[in-house]
Every structure is written in structure tokens, then in C-alpha cells.
């Protein structure tokens, strides 16, 4: 099988370094010989090591777990590390940085700042006055197994930001919380350890920048790499907000 002719892939990549005075965004072309099982991660590193050491992009786990490498691949937001080049039969792959985030350079964007702000805004932690005083020598508080599973289902979000890039509402309204924030809040809403009331949750998302601003275009649902149930959760939160208030 080594006799197969490997394809020559064409990568068209947005290049722009905002820290270099006078630099302007442009698309640059690179050629890479495809290898079996090649991912965008492998291809980009090859480009950096062998062709252009200045090119910027972010990878950490390269296994689809950490959420670092979101980018627009042929028009769709995806995790680059687990996108195989074989998925593109024409052999032309266009890469753009995720929109909606501050650009660091080329394909690298600052998702960290946005995600920390989101966590602060929805107060992404267990609210329980007594949590700090738990006697750690005693048996832990019990939890129904299916509740634990349900929380985990919603906690699988990796904060990659693809949902925000795919969100038309977010494009129009910068303060819109977006699916990542709704999902986080839904996760705490089902958690019996979090003592926040419906009213307190309403304070956070009961307006147009929150769950009522969503236009239900559901780009979040389409592009979530963890297949989280965004549509269901947004509907659930809305119903809860509308009834609870």
C-alpha cells in the first residue's frame, strides 16, 4: 500500500500579525504532501517546521479533549486536531481564525479571556455556604447516580468557542452570553449541590443578552464538537425562566 500516490494538498491560510506595524491580512498558499491519517494538526506543524516558522496557531492535547484548536476549516468551525485531511476530496483546505474572538495572530485567537468572563458572569461554581465547612473525614453527600450522569452530560463542554463563532446573535450583539454560557448555567441548574434559586438564575440570563436573545438559528447545536444538547437546554432554560419568574 506504500505505492499509493500521495496527494498534494493546498492550504490557504489567513496570515496577519497585528503586532507588526503595517501588516495587512492576506491569504497565503502552502503545499503539503498528504500522509495517511493526516490531520490539520499534523499538516500545520509540518508547514511551520519546514516552510514558514512564523505561522501562529494553538494546539494543546491534539486529541479533541482540550478545546484549544478551533478554527474555520473550509467555512465551518471545527477542532483542527481531529479533522482529517482525507475529509476534503478536492485537496484544497482553507483555514481562517475563529471569528468573535480577539486575534492574536494568524489562526490563533484569545478564547481564554472570553471564557473566563463567561465563567465570572454566570458564576460558574457551586453556590453553597456550607461547601467550605464540609467535614472531609465523613462520607460524602450522596447523589442519585442518574443525576451525576446528567450533570456530566452537560459538563462535557470544552470551552472551544465554536458555538460562539457559529452564532449569528453573538455576531450582532457582543454582550450575548451564547450557548457556552447557557450550557454552563444549565449544568449548575440541575446540580442539587448548587443552592441558587430560579430567581437568581433569572437575574443572570433572563434578558435579551441572555436566553431570550437567542434567535434559535442553532449554529451552536450544529457545530458543537461534543454534541451537547444546546437546543434542548436553551428551550429548557427559557421555559424555566418564563415559568419561574
Amino acid at each position: 500500500m506504500n505505492n499509493e500516490q500521495n496527494r498534494t494538498l493546498i492550504f490557504e491560510i489567513l496570515r496577519y500579525n497585528p503586532l507588526i506595524k503595517g501588516d495587512t491580512p492576506k491569504m497565503e498558499k502552502y503545499q503539503v504532501t498528504e500522509a495517511p491519517g493526516m490531520t490539520i494538526f499534523i499538516a500545520l506543524n509540518e508547514i511551520r517546521e519546514e516552510q514558514d516558522p512564523s505561522i501562529q496557531f494553538d494546539f494543546v492535547c491534539r486529541a479533541g479533549i482540550c478545546g484549544s484548536c478551533g478554527m474555520i476549516i473550509n467555512g465551518e468551525p471545527k477542532l483542527a486536531c481531529r479533522t482529517l485531511t482525507a475529509n476534503y476530496p478536492k485537496g484544497v483546505i482553507t483555514l481562517l481564525p475563529l471569528p468573535g474572538f480577539e486575534l492574536i495572530g494568524d489562526l490563533s485567537v484569545d478564547t481564554g479571556k472570553v471564557m473566563r468572563q463567561m465563567s465570572e458572569r454566570v458564576e460558574s461554581w457551586i453556590h453553597d455556604q456550607e461547601a467550605e465547612d464540609v467535614d472531609l473525614t465523613r462520607l460524602e453527600e450522596r447523589m442519585e447516580p442518574e443525576i451525576a450522569d446528567e450533570i456530566y452530560e452537560l459538563e462535557r463542554c470544552v470551552e472551544c468557542g465554536l458555538c460562539l463563532s457559529a452564532c449569528a446573535t453573538k455576531r450582532m450583539r457582543d454582550d450575548f452570553l451564547g450557548a457556552v454560557g447557557f450550557m454552563r448555567l444549565a449544568r449548575y441548574a440541575v446540580d442539587p449541590r448548587d443552592k441558587r434559586t430560579g430567581e437568581e438564575f433569572y437575574e443572570i440570563i433572563g434578558d435579551d443578552d441572555g436566553v431570550f436573545g437567542c434567535m434559535t438559528l442553532l449554529g451552536c447545536e450544529d457545530y458543537c464538537p461534543k454534541d451537547l444538547p444546546h437546543q434542548t437546554q436553551i428551550a429548557y432554560l427559557r421555559r424555566k425562566m418564563a415559568l419561574g419568574k
Binding site: T39, S54, C61, I65, S68, W125, P145
Partner: protein, 656 residues
């Protein structure tokens, strides 16, 4: 000159670093965490399988306690660990997991009644008790006597890291992202912070602190094929080494995980085998029972990895264009279990291999996975050579893993060590005034500034990417699972050459701000030094212990080698570290060296072993009727911060 002052500086935003930061902050000290990346993206998130803590709630965990966990950990380490540290660890692990439960980790819970599991290739029904219902569940892992590994489906590390980072956000702990510590500041043998490069602007900043903690994870990327994240390059460990004062411990102790996928080296969790998955060869034959009739696929990681290589050397590997591999078969676990409890494995198979693990076997091969070595600390997490420098988690050699870490003991270490060391960091902040001559800060800053400007100005020289590849290949080919004198000698000589070349790196992209080539040029010389510590330590250690396996010295040699390697790099102009050894005192051991129970026991015994065994016997005879906790306190008293003392409750057993 830009200087930022704080009480507690933590380098690294994974589980261990965040936990230390939380401890110091809760005690009222100003704390800053530095991270290359957003903290939630740290490699801790990739720990799929679970965290060991002897809660003993599940029926297959009944009878478990700190003592059983201690025994497994010490045996797993091949008696290379520090037994005081291992003891403090096992006693605190139940508290750490219960604290995380209160902080929001959705641990999988015990469901009362019957459930079907796979044990030794057979479907078996086990029955969970009513009284355990809703408590934290546990699964089987390699090298453990009980089902002790607590988990959240297969996203344990992810949920632990999210709970921990959320806690840090709640406490308003600043995480300074995209910052890389490139050198430690120190004066008169005391660490005073770090010189840090802002990865976007390229600015150098001095972070000056009372206590500095290195929590930058392992050094897996010294090898060309590793399960580790691309950031696991050991840079924190290296900047400690470069002080010339802080030694690194047991750098030659490098673990290979049995089941990473071929060719990319992404991990499939030990949970696959823990839950009943099997290893098969090219004929579809289950070979592990032939080698290890007792523990089979669930022998310790170092043992399984070696057996797999042995079996492939007999021509039983599955040939592929990427070399031979073996099969991991989880099809017998069934679709429901795989899609839920092994979902990340499922995703990895689908995305990276294009196969469905419900129906097909997974191609696997032993792959670099964990660094037992690191910054050598005492039980308080403080460097034994540089005061005010602490280290925790995989970056440290604390040393609870010795020469082989058990699956599930690494994330457990991060949070337990973080809890304990965090208290000692806070104590240190309380006791230590911050005094530093600004000239010292200036001179450390200047040193780094000059290094970088040399790199940017050099017209011609070595390509940093190429040097790194060469280093990784040397480590993979010559300092891998099986080692021998000839290969190791070659590796050491080749690394010496690379170390010289690394002083002459030149860049094609010569800008000082955000520049991946410059980042590489700063890191690669540090990585080559670490690689040399691993290779040279391995060459000198003429025995086999845990993951360090010498074909020319197959016996564990307690008589001559029951000691910890300490590597110093005191002189910038040399190409080799200085090696010293720290003996392990059998006369203080709770568990004197014995057989691990794999293969034939060929250990060369130490004369103290028998002496200590007799001494312990005598202590027990002199104190009839004492319980297990009193026994431990007599034989192996350990110091734990007051707030984490106290017996641990277990269901059906109380505090006994």
C-alpha cells in the same frame, strides 16, 4: 523594567498548580498563576480514567482502606518511592476526593442492585448494597488489589480540572495566560520568583514572590511518540535544573502506557482494560495470561508494556506501515458501556482511526506517558536545594511513584499534593518576609534579554525544530522501554553533541514578539538538558526497577541501587549533569522491600530488609491489640497539616 510582586507565584495552571494557588489564597495570601494557555486546557483535562482514593463503597472495593492503597502504591513503585510521602498521600486521598465532590465534580455514583460487568473476559453480575447507593463509585485499574479508581464516566480529569479552575475563579485568583517562565530568580540559595516571557508581545517581566511553585507537568515531549500534550515539554523542571542548585530526582524513571493508538500516540484509558478489555496479538490470541497468569491485562503498566514488546519481538505483532502493534479489544464490553463509560475512547477511535470500537479492535502500542522524575522535593514539596522553591504534581519528584506510577494515582497526586503542599506554601508565606535587591532582579532580567537578543541577531546556525526532532528520536530509539549499555552510551554521546549545537541556534523569523520559532529556540536547549539527565541517569543505574528496565542488568538490586538519582546542572559549559545519589533508608520503611509478584523474583536483597522486618515484628509483639491506624503511627509516623488529619469514614465500616 516591569516587575510584578505577589506572595505565592504558581507556574502552571493544571490541577496541581491551581490547588496550591487555592490553598494559599484561602489562607489570605496574594496569589498569581502563570499559564502557557487558558488553565482549563491544561493536560490534566486529558486524564480519562480516574482518581484512586480508598473509599471502598462499591462492592468490589469493600475491604479497601489507606493500608491497601499504600501497599499497592509502594509495590507499584518497585520500592523506589518515599514511603512517608506515599503514606501521607493515601491517608489524604479520601479527603481530597470528598472535597472535590463538595466543589462540584459529578463523580459517578454507586447504583444499588445488580449490574453486569466484565471480569477476566467473562460477563459477571455484581450486586451493590443499599447502603452504598449514591456514594462515589470506583472501577478496576492495573496493579491494584481493590476497585479503587473513582471516576466521572471517562472524563475524570476534565471534570476535576473544571471544578478546580471554577473554584479558582470564584476566589478571584488571577491566571496570567500565555506567559512562559524562562528562568528562576534566586539570591543566596533562596528562590525569589521567575523571569517570564509574555508570549504575545515578547515582553520580559519579573514576577517576584515569596514562594514560587513549579507545576508545569511532565516531560513526555522529550520523546517522539508520547500521549502527552504538546505543551508537556518539562520547561518548569528545566528552569529549576538551570539554577544549578535545585536537583532533579529519578529523571530516568519514565513510564510507557500500554495502550496508545497507532500511529499518533493518543491515549486510550486504562479504564478500557479495567472495565474488561483484552489485549490480543496478530492471531487474535489473548497473550497476557501466558506472561502474567495472576493479574493478566491488569498488571502494573511497566509490566504490561514490557510484555507487549516481548510478545511483538516474538513476531506476534500486527504488521502495519507504522511498524508492529497489538490489538485492544473492548468489543466484549458492549455498545451501551462503550458509548457512555468510554465515550472519549469511542470519539478518539472514530475521529483519528475511522473505526468503531464497538465492532472493531483498536491498534495500540506502548507509548511514552508519564514522568516519575522531576524537581526533587521534601515531603513539604520544597526543593531540597533551593529554599522558597516548591514543586508539585508531575513536574515534581515528591516522590510517591518511585519507578512506576499506578494508573489513577496521578490525578490523585495532583490534588492531594496540591492540598498538602499548598498549606506548606502558605506557611512559608507567613514566615518569610520578601527581601530582594532590585539589582538581582535586574541581572536575571538582563541575562534572559541577552539570550533572546543573541538568538534574534545570529545570522547562521542550527534550526531549533530540527534539533528537537533529533533529540526526540534519540530518546525514543535508545532510552525507551528496554535499555542497555550500548544504546544508552550512544544516546549520551549524541545528546552531548546536540547540547553543543543548541548553543548556536539561529532563527529564520527574527522578531521578538509572538514567534513560535523563538519559543522553540528558548525551549529546545532546556529540553536537551532534561533529555541528558534521563539518558545519563539511565546509563549509570545498573539495575532494573519499575519502568527502568536494563536488558544487561535485569535484576532489581536493592543492595546497591535502593537510592534516588539526583541530577544537578551546575556548569553551563558542560554537556553532562552531575549525578549524586540519595539512599532510601529501609530502617524507616513501613513496608521493607519484597517481591512485586510479577514473574520470577530475582531481587538482590539489601541486608537491612531482614533487619527491618524483624524490627517491625518486634514492635507488633510489644504492642499487642493495637489497631491498624495505631500500628501505622508506630511504624511510619507522618506529618500532615492539621486540617487534613483525622480518620476517614467508610460505609459499613465507620472510622475503623
Amino acid at each position: 523594567m516591569k516587575v510584578i510582586y505577589t506572595d505565592s507565584l504558581v507556574i502552571g495552571g493544571g490541577l496541581a498548580g491551581l490547588r496550591v494557588a487555592i490553598a494559599a489564597k484561602q489562607r489570605g495570601y496574594d496569589t498569581i498563576v502563570l499559564s502557557l494557555i487558558p488553565a482549563k486546557r491544561s493536560h490534566s483535562a486529558a486524564a480519562q480514567g480516574g482518581m484512586q482514593a480508598s473509599l471502598g463503597a462499591s462492592v468490589k472495593g469493600v475491604g479497601d482502606d489507606e493500608d491497601v492503597h499504600f501497599g499497592d502504591t509502594v509495590r507499584g513503585s518497585d520500592w523506589g518511592c518515599d514511603q512517608d510521602v506515599a503514606r501521607a498521600f493515601v491517608n489524604t486521598a479520601p479527603k481530597a476526593i470528598r472535597q472535590l465532590a463538595a466543589w462540584g465534580v459529578p463523580w459517578s455514583r454507586v447504583q444499588r442492585g445488580d449490574r453486569q460487568v466484565v471480569i477476566n473476559g467473562e460477563k459477571v453480575t455484581i450486586t451493590e448494597s443499599d447502603e452504598a447507593h449514591g456514594l462515589i463509585n470506583s472501577r478496576d485499574f492495573g496493579g491494584t488489589k481493590k476497585w479503587r479508581t473513582c471516576y466521572t464516566s471517562d472524563g475524570t480529569g476534565h471534570t476535576m480540572l473544571y471544578a478546580m479552575d471554577n473554584k479558582a475563579i470564584k476566589l478571584k485568583i488571577p491566571v496570567h495566560e500565555r506567559k512562559e517562565a524562562v528562568a528562576l530568580i534566586h539570591e543566596d540559595g533562596v528562590c525569589k520568583g521567575a523571569i517570564v516571557r509574555e508570549l504575545i508581545t515578547g515582553q520580559l517581566i519579573a514576577y517576584v514572590a515569596k514562594a514560587t511553585t513549579i507545576a508545569t507537568g511532565g516531560y513526555g515531549r522529550l520523546y517522539s511518540v508520547t500521549t502527552n500534550a504538546v505543551i508537556s515539554e518539562g520547561i518548569g523542571t528545566a528552569i529549576a535544573l538551570e539554577t544549578g542548585l535545585a536537583p532533579l530526582g529519578n529523571m530516568e524513571a519514565v513510564q510507557f502506557h500500554p495502550t496508545a493508538i497507532v500511529p499518533v500516540g493518543i491515549l486510550t484509558t486504562e479504564g478500557c482494560r479495567g472495565d474488561g478489555g483484552l489485549l490480543l496479538d496478530k492471531d487474535g490470541y489473548r497473550f497476557m495470561p501466558d506472561y502474567e497468569p495472576d493479574k493478566k491485562e491488569l498488571a502494573s503498566r511497566d509490566v504490561v508494556s514490557r510484555r507487549m514488546i516481548e510478545h511483538m519481538r516474538k513476531g506476534k505483532g500486527v504488521p502495519s506501515r507504522y511498524g508492529d502493534h497489538l490489538w485492544l479489544d473492548i468489543t466484549l464490553l458492549g455498545e451501551k458501556h462503550i458509548r457512555k463509560n468510554l465515550r472519549e475512547v469511542d470519539e478518539i477511535c472514530q475521529y483519528f482511526l475511522g473505526i468503531d470500537p464497538v465492532k472493531e479492535y483498536i491498534p495500540v502500542r506502548p507509548t511514552q506517558h508519564y514522568s516519575m522524575g522531576g524537581v526533587k522535593t521534601n515531603f513539604k514539596g520544597e526543593s531540597i536545594g533551593l529554599k522558597g522553591l516548591f514543586s508539585v504534581g508531575e513536574a515534581a519528584c515528591w516522590d510517591m511513584h518511585g519507578f512506576n506510577r499506578l494508573g489513577g494515582n496521578s490525578v490523585a497526586e495532583t490534588v492531594v499534593a496540591g492540598m498538602l503542599v499548598g498549606e506548606y506554601v502558605a506557611d512559608y508565606c507567613a514566615d518569610t518576609p520578601l527581601k530582594i535587591d532590585t539589582k538581582t532582579i535586574d541581572s536575571f532580567l538582563e541575562q534572559e534579554r541577552v539570550k533572546i537578543s543573541d538568538l534574534l541577531n545570529r545570522e547562521r546556525g542550527e534550526n531549533p525544530f530540527k534539533l528537537k526532532k533529533e533529540m526526540q528520536k534519540i530518546m525514543m530509539d535508545k532510552v525507551g522501554i528496554f535499555r542497555n549499555h550500548d544504546d544508552l552510551t550512544k544516546a549520551v554521546e549524541e545528546l552531548k553533541v546536540l547540547n553543543k549545537k543548541a548553543k548556536n541556534i539561529a532563527l529564520r523569523n527574527r522578531i521578538s514578539s509572538s514567534n513560535p520559532e523563538l519559543v522553540e529556540a528558548i525551549r529546545v536547549p532546556k529540553m536537551i538538558k532534561l533529555a541528558q539527565c534521563v539518558a545519563y541517569g539511565a546509563l549509570l543505574r545498573k539495575e532494573s526497577r519499575g519502568a527502568h528496565s536494563r536488558e544487561d542488568f535485569p535484576q532489581r538490586d536493592d543492595k546497591n541501587w535502593l537510592k534516588r538519582t539526583l541530577a544537578y546542572w551546575k556548569d553551563e559549559n558542560t554537556d553532562l549533569p552531575e549525578i549524586e545519589y540519595e539512599p532510601l533508608d529501609i530502617m524507616k520503611m513501613e513496608m521493607p522491600p519484597a517481591s512485586r509478584g510479577y514473574g520470577d523474583d530475582q531481587t538482590i536483597a539489601h541486608p537491612d530488609t531482614e533487619k527491618r522486618e524483624k524490627e517491625i515484628e518486634q514492635i507488633l509483639k510489644d504492642n499487642p491489640g493495637i489497631d491498624r491506624i495505631q500500628t501505622q503511627e508506630l511504624i511510619n509516623p507522618v506529618e500532615v497539616p492539621e486540617r487534613y488529619q483525622g480518620k476517614n469514614e467508610r460505609v459499613g465500616r465507620g472510622f475503623k
